[in-house]
Chain length 162, copies 2
DNA sequence: TACATTTGCGTAACTAGTTACGTAATTTAT
DNA sequence: ATAAATTACGTAACTAGTTACGCAAATGTA
């Protein structure tokens, strides 16, 4: 049991901050893990690797849609992956606005080691979810609700009812 | 049901990213909400307000411990709150390293309106957790596990077992 | 009392996301 | 065929967190 934790003490009020704290914790712990293993990638490169492995070539917009993140976020990630030579780009021949992204040979060669790391990450998630079988389903429920009507809209409506 | 969501498709692999996506979504939606209501504060000021309302005076270190965040994070938040004149500081008389933080009159006057906003936020969380009564308990379980042994340590051990 | 250690907090540099804006290429509409 | 609207993506400026480092004040120790 965590002692003296204000966020737990204040219950529902602290829930969003606890979620943020947890995800931040995992984020920086993952960085730490990569560093310890001597792998020179950032946590948020993981899904880009997976997407490009599966689809060979994707544009910035396609990736941002599939990950449901803003396109500038993807642009930033891609820039760093390019700097480390994990990603290459070429302009689409039929639409010169589009940048086709693909994994470089360096990336392909690194994949086996990376995939082992990611497997270890999955094992950790399984550990953390042990006795928590509904967590994923519960999360999906929340995602669905928020997808249908945003947190902001809901809160505005709730405020007007007070 | 969310369509074509790569993060859901890949199951456990996408879980941490989904949690991050959810907390980011709530974060920016909360900003949006404050803006819509015409309240000039940031989401992460909320807990500082609550702590200082409860304890009158706290130091940077005390706040960072209670929220379990790094002290530079608190320093940054406080700086912005000071710029908007919601927080005042005075140097501790017995230990001149310590900065005592307190809510200004402007903050005290703003509190009633803010508290109404936060009440609306709680109602929203209740909505989102409807049919999800175990979510909080489940979250606490994960926090406990990660508190005992970090995500990094767990993953390193899992990697060695592969 | 002098010196080493610890504590408090501030800054710098970094990743990580957002919204807002701009521009060029493509598509649509008139 | 030309003008308008849309799309793709890049940049800027912002909040939000971290780790690493530095310095001065306080504390512990010889």
């Amino acid at each position: 049991m965590i002692q003296n934790d204000f966020l737990i003490e204040i219950q529902l009020v602290g829930l969003t901050s606890r979620l943020k704290r947890l995800t931040d914790n995992i984020l920086y712990s993952t960085k730490d893990f990569y560093k310890a293993v001597g792998v020179d990638i950032e946590p948020n490169w993981h899904l880009i690797f997976l997407l490009l492995k599966k689809h060979r070539e994707l544009t910035v917009t396609e990736i941002s849609e599939r990950l449901q993140m803003s396109h500038p976020a993807i642009v930033k990630i891609i820039r760093n992956m390019k700097l480390k030579d994990y990603i290459g780009t070429k302009t689409d021949t039929t639409d010169s606005r589009k940048q086709l992204l693909y994994l470089t040979t360096k990336a392909e060669l690194a994949l086996p080691q990376l995939e082992k790391c990611w497997e270890a990450c999955i094992l950790t998630m399984e550990e953390l979810l042990e006795g928590n079988e509904f967590f994923l389903k519960n999360l999906e429920l929340i995602e669905e609700k928020i997808g249908k009507k945003s947190y902001k809209e809901r809160t505005l409506k709730n405020l007007n009812r007070l």
